[in-house]
């Protein structure tokens, strides 16, 4: 999902301009993204590319920061920073 300006299926929908309260999850994801960028482990452009790669149905189901963490996970797997096994092991401990 990317480059939606002027795409007819998204026209005529009112834009929600109300501010959104950030959850603890949102803040954690944002902080993690900044740390990863600071360590040179991902760029904001990789974040954007990963968000664009989310299938349309998932894209609409996920919240803004859920899209981020999905892209960040894909980037770290792609770069070999993390493995599926490591992620699964970390999730087991939660």
């Amino acid at each position: 999902m990317h480059d939606l300006g002027g795409v007819s299926k998204f026209m005529c929908e009112p834009v929600d301009k109300e501010p959104h309260a950030l959850t603890a999850f949102d803040r954690d994801v944002d902080a993690l993204r900044q740390l990863l960028s600071g360590q040179g482990l991902m760029t904001v452009d990789e974040l954007r590319r990963g968000i664009e790669a989310i299938p349309e149905a998932d894209y609409h189901r996920l919240s803004y920061y859920e899209r981020w963490i999905r892209s960040m996970t894909a980037t770290l797997l792609n770069r070999g920073v993390l493995t599926e096994v490591e992620i699964a092991a970390a999730l087991e401990k939660l």
Partner: protein, 93 residues
């Protein structure tokens, strides 16, 4: 370096139909002509950064387009002002 006032055309190219891409040039401007307003600086190419490739710096410009030709709405004289990288611009025909 492109000068302010230069008429340019956005390349009518669709690389996303050929291979995975990350493109910052809006689809609705491909093939459209506009006017260079200012040089914003040189920045690493996001099309490379998105794939963690070495990213040479590319000049970035503010380019203005007459809005009515693109959106068919708005007041007379309305313009779109869009940031476009140099490699997407070519001389206007």
């Amino acid at each position: 370096m492109r000068a302010a006032g230069e008429t340019v055309r956005v390349r009518d190219d669709w690389p996303e139909t050929r291979h995975p891409c990350h493109i910052r040039t809006p689809h609705y401007l491909r093939g459209r002509s506009g006017t260079v307003v200012r040089h914003l600086g040189d920045f690493p190419n996001p099309e490379d950064l998105a794939f963690a490739r070495p990213a040479p710096k590319v000049p970035l410009y503010h380019v203005a387009f007459a809005q009515d030709a693109i959106w068919h709405e708005g007041a007379a004289g309305d313009e779109l002002l869009v940031e476009i990288f140099d490699h997407w611009l070519e001389p206007a025909a």
